[in-house]
Symmetry: C4
Subunit: 254 residues, 4 copies
């Protein structure tokens, strides 16, 4: 078995397409963003990637059918000034080799479809819930840094301090080094501990202005409120029980 | 050395065969079921798989001879309306790559022998001993879900919640995606902490009705009773010692 | 780089040679035995194995020169009724793949040199220092079990209970399955926690009778006594300090 | 994707060049030394190594641009009696296979450029801050040991006791075994827990005498003093807080 199998269902003809990546990562910011983009702009799946670098696992879906762990490529045509290819999936590569191979294969396919620019989407963990998530950036070329700064994206040396790990880093890094592509990464601030639609919303706001498209965010807003309600309730319960414990402890001292 | 070596001892001619998998997993439900099937229906080994994806180990058998860790394929001919190929073995692949490669190679061989359908057998852990083990299912196609439901198999979204991991998932997942095969997985409820013939019995009851064959389960019943007796004794001892400790603790307070 | 590089320094002409393995393992029993054999019978190194399955490391030797981690093959000619090939080394393969590949490559070379029989040497851990180390065995064929039993070797089902792990198991397992070779493993009882010449001595006593050769064990005897003296002193100190602690604790209660 | 991609930007013509390695390791002694050498002698980058054996990661640089994890080769021409090739990088190979492959590929390229001698630089951890860091050595041939001893380098059997792990060991080990090269390793004593310019300075002092070149060490001296100041302050704070705790504990007893 080839370690990466790319099943191309359709070869789309695309106009100067941009590759956009949103695989699972910190706060699922990238994945939420990319999936929302596909849903809102009517993306069409044209390729499936099955790989022994991914977990050996199938999911059980609505109705009892299975779905093997995979990555998928969608195209979005005629919705923006430039066409889009969007990479989403269930998992990133399980190890360094897998991360490199999967990114490389996606770039290879993207190049065949005319891609010269790559945008990767991800989260940027600050360890606590941000008041209003900022969007951090990193780019392949100084002129792109300047360009993207205009949209309020923050560029800071050594931020994130550990660099950008995984597909969000490699797709622009390998894209630049081996495929002569340009690109940048947008990272939405997130606590990173649970699925975080707020981070995704901020990333999408920036992205929509960069791509000059309209993206309705009401779904993500609703999802965010739902998650916040749950989080709030949980925190309330925890505070309550802490107070209870406090009272008991006080009682113990008296 | 090739990482997977398939030694075919005999090329059986089979009538529209079904591939059935029962490798080690939760509660050894799949392995117990598949081995029982082979024993009861007189399966004949026709292929051995030796692989550097399996543990680097030999077992010492009755009489002091060795047996290298392996997977084996048996065929069962003329016992059911359709012939069967049964995959059993000492171990699953040690890592993701191994899981994919071994499943792929088995599917390749199965396809050569005319297999178009795959049934995988496994356990489904609920963390405690089930009253009466239920049988959960997952299938490649909605029509198979409907078909199998008739036999009392439970199909539930996201059950098991982590999906189906290992060969039981991959053989139907890769079978569908890369070989155009249909298939389903039967998972017997099990505590999952020890060898569990009860889970295997429920799986085999469903399987025998699906395949329209008679399978004598008295061996497994005997084995189950033996294990339950041991478990019962152990639990008795533990309860006793807990009571002892409790008494001591009470004594300590007085 | 090829993952296994076999540098053959000399192609010996050997009479019906037997391959004997003694790589590092439990109590270093196999390694001690094989190296003693080479030393006593004047083995000559004819091949070196360098491999990326071995640790990425060089040792610093007497005089400050380096030695890369390796496995080595020696031949012993004209000292026994049959010639011998002895495999020794600094390390076994680091993972399952490496274990299989290295064993396979050694068997391939052995076959080229006419080897049809393999003897592997190892330790058998019982968790405590054995009174008089017994020698356990496992063989590829029942007739070999019968043959070797005559030399006092103990053959017991499922002993060792986890099977034989690593090169000592694979060289006879793969030898039988893929190269049509016969073989057996001799395992000297050992505490397994430190280098154990006593286990090696028992293995060598059995081996010398099987091969019908004389092996002087006085070196190993001396080494064993030295180690026992150190162990004894350490144990003495520990018992002493335990007694001290006991006294202190009593003092504390008073 | 090839697991090691060597992008050669320029093929320098070099006079009997020596390969010098300084990749990240204990106390960053090797990396600091090699980078200082490049800076001081005006090294020119001629090759970049991108590899799936390295971490799947990009760094964010000054100005917000990215840099993929890589190893790099510089040449230094006409500054010493012999020309130099210097290997530096962000990381060593992530596993044994990667360590071997990366070292092998560098040696292959070095051989093409006429390299017959290799010097590797590293740290030698003694677990505490050394008064005056000594420089330990290990070499491929006894005559090199004698030669290098003259420069005050200490050669001691089994020092470092675990041997030399990683590129510093493999480049001379594989260089000798597979490429017929000579070489030695210089290891500066270091606590090994933080970046240690003092160790690098001692290594560079020895190296400059061996290569008969002048190397200005004032930058490293300044860096060392800065680190020492920070360390000193931290230790001061810790001692202070320990004293505080001590006082509190005394208070508790009164």
């Amino acid at each position: 078995m080839n370690r990466v199998i790319v099943k191309v269902h359709e070869w789309p003809e695309l106009k100067d397409p941009i590759l956009i990546e949103g695989l699972p990562g910190l706060g699922y910011v990238g994945k939420l963003s990319a999936e929302h983009l596909i849903r809102q702009l009517g993306g069409r799946r044209f390729a499936t990637i099955i790989s022994s670098y991914l977990p050996p696992q199938v999911y059980v879906m609505e109705g009892g059918t299975i779905s093997i762990v995979k990555q998928e490529l969608y195209y979005i045509k005629g919705k923006a000034k430039r066409d889009l290819i969007v990479l989403v999936g269930d998992s990133q590569g399980l190890n360094a080799e897998g991360q490199y191979e999967l990114s490389y294969r996606v770039l290879e396919l993207a190049q065949e479809l005319g891609v010269k620019e790559v945008i990767t989407l991800g989260g940027y963990s600050i360890g606590k819930r941000p008041e209003k998530p900022r969007v951090f950036g990193a780019a392949t070329h100084p002129e792109i840094v300047e360009e993207i700064k205009k949209y309020g994206v923050i560029f800071a040396k050594s931020e994130p301090s550990g660099g950008i790990i995984g597909a969000a880093g490699l797709l622009i890094g390998l894209g630049m080094e081996l495929f002569g592509m340009k690109g940048f990464c947008l990272m939405g601030e997130t606590a990173g501990m649970y699925v975080d639609p707020r981070g995704a919303m901020e990333v999408l706001k920036v992205l929509s202005r960069i791509l000059d498209i309209e993206i309705d965010l009401s779904d993500l807003e609703a999802q965010a409120m739902q998650i916040e309600e749950i989080t709030h309730t949980v925190e309330e319960i925890m505070r309550e029980s802490e107070r209870e414990e406090g009272r008991e402890e006080l009682g113990y001292i008296r």
